[in-house]
């Protein structure tokens, strides 16, 4: 995680060096959230682009210089296995943000694992077949779902379950309909980043004193510290109306981007 105070102090240092202006904490917090979101969002198109090297078999196999792997690594603060809960009213699985899982809203769904324990048997009276099966569940569109269930060869089974996204009236978070109905559902998710906040107490002279106990650091990986500073400076230049700041910051950001993707 990137320390919010480090970023704020650095931004202030650069801005004040030539008496260009000052960014108060509230403005900084807004810009910090914006830039963090911008960097977070850029991972996905960048990841797709960098993955082409894997697809073309031109990726290197070094320990630390595989750019795709490095970018993938940056997602670890957002990756979390989230347990979903069954809603019998609407026959769907949903994520409760109040639970211990997924404090942040879910941004993307990854691998979906359905667990089955009591297999449906054809015996009468029914005996419980006890295998515990954890099956990778295929997320399909409603359209594909309707097609898949109509073929006896592809109809979902406990070994090959399928699911589709469903907008449950009971919750605002993502819901899924899973077939056949599992006993538990766990999804490897990418969560949205938490908003950073530089919190303060007012000193005797009216100055802002950093309060770490009520502050929130950036969720991004530590390697993103420079990008965060440059990004915030870019927007700070807009706020204080200084084109040179914008120009320098933009050039720096572009240089980094080109270097990473080439």
């Amino acid at each position: 995680m990137v320390n919010v105070n480090t970023v704020y102090q650095t931004v202030l240092y650069v801005l004040n060096k030539e008496q260009r202006g000052y960014i108060p904490p509230d403005e900084f917090n807004s810009l910090a959230e914006l830039v963090q979101e911008e960097i977070f969002q850029s991972y996905f198109p960048d990841g797709s682009q960098l993955n082409r090297q894997n697809q073309n078999n031109t990726q290197n196999d070094t320990e630390f210089f595989n750019i795709f792997k490095n970018l993938n690594y940056k997602l670890y603060p957002f990756e979390q296995e989230v347990e979903f809960f069954y809603d019998p009213t609407f026959d769907c699985w949903f994520n409760s943000q109040n639970s211990e899982y997924a404090i942040q809203p879910i941004y993307l769904l990854g691998e979906i694992i359905s667990s089955y324990s009591n297999g449906v048997t054809n015996t009468t009276p029914a005996a419980s077949v006890s295998p515990s099966i954890d099956s990778i569940t295929q997320l399909v569109s409603k359209k594909d779902y309707e097609k898949i269930i109509r073929s006896k060869l592809t109809a979902p089974t406990q070994q090959f379950p399928i699911c589709y996204q469903y907008s449950s009236p009971a919750t605002t978070s993502v819901s899924l309909k899973v077939f056949p109905l599992p006993k538990a559902l766990n999804i490897n998710c990418i969560l949205s980043p938490a908003s950073p906040r530089w919190s303060f107490q007012t000193g005797g002279l009216g100055q802002y004193i950093y309060n770490p106990s009520t502050s929130f650091n950036f969720t991004l990986d530590i390697s993103e510290q420079n990008n965060l500073i440059i990004g915030i400076l870019k927007y700070a230049g807009v706020v204080i109306n200084d084109p040179t700041i914008i120009e320098v910051a933009s050039q720096e950001a572009q240089k980094t981007s080109v270097n990473e993707k080439s």
Binding site: N51, N54, Q55, N56, N57, Q59, S117, T121, T123, P125, A127, S128, V129, S130, P131, S132, I136, Q138, V140, D144, I148, S151, L153, T154, Q159, F160, I162
Partner: protein, 413 residues
Amino acid sequence: MSLATETNQQYYQGTQIFVATTGQKDFTTTFDTNLIFGSNDNTSVKYALNNFKVYTSQTGLPGSFFEDFANYTVTNNIISFEDAPFNNVPSTPYVVVQLKTLDGGKYGNTQAEKAYGNTVEENYGSYQYLKLSDIVNNYMVGYVGDGKIIQSAKKSDVVFFAKRSLQEFSYDTLKSIKSQELTIPSSLSLPIPQDYVNYVSFCYIDTLGVKRPLYPNNNLTTNPYYNLLQDSDGVPIQDNFGENIEGTSITEERWKSADDRLINNQAFNQLYDNFAYGLYAEGWYGSGPWDWGRLYGLDPQTSQVNGWFGINEREGMFTFSSNLRDKLIVVDYISDGLAYDLDTRIPKLAEEAMYMSISYNLLAGRANVSEGVVARFKKDRRAALRNAKIRLSNIKLDEIVQVMRGKSKWIKH
């Protein structure tokens, strides 16, 4: 990791022994076969659904094991007792889980306590097969992903082509292992098996247990699909709803009551053997049927006494000639490999052919795949399939040599 995960005792005897620690209530079984649990109460109907029995002993000595009907449940192949066996006296009792087997296993002291069934036998030989789910999972790992020719594939597509491949393989590549032993009733017809796709052979079993092949009655009789009632002008009659009225088939009636010996020359051979020969020898060129065959040669398809079978598509029945009444027959047939869970398994000898078949089908139906790649996989599929067929044909040189020795051929090997 080795692929065989069962111990020798688990595989051959269907037995897993636990020496319980003090207070231990949960016992995790590790058979390849999943435990099926109906009830622990032997007075319950569901008790018969269990595919195992649980025995406990205080000493572990032979003869000291008794079936345990204590309150237990089974989840995820874990047997959980409500109370520790023998209430911790002694502190290390023995617990045995015995899968049901044809000889009942060696732990029950009475016939009622023995674990009779065929759960163990169903597992015998299972190492030569792969489950369809294993094929799909292996395929997704080995053939689909970045940097591979198939960069991405929907699992439902892979499942579809895996099942289609298994169907195709079942028709002409895999061993035909389906057969039914049946006795032919006086109606001379039997229902087609539930998972029947096509027959391989019909034979009746003689008193020595030897197979006697039956032959199709294609050129002798037929089973008309529509048996219409007609008026005096020959026009079909309709009922009040405008549908044709159908009756029973006269052809089938005649065939059922036919004396087979009149078809295969047996009757005439018996009745007129000497007589016909005499006529012929005396220069009386008779016109009777007894001369057929001797004058013009036998028709091989009718010159057999085993009998005939047919398939009545209208009724979904196998039909048999009248000489087969009350005879024991065996029908060998093929299914498509998907009818039952136990069927959906692939011989390891055909594993590669299955992967190649899935690959080819995925690529052939995909847009923007170069024709060269498709052609390559088509060749690979064909080569792998040929290999699988040769392997599954089970051709052994020694067996060929043994057959050829009877043909006066000098074979060196």
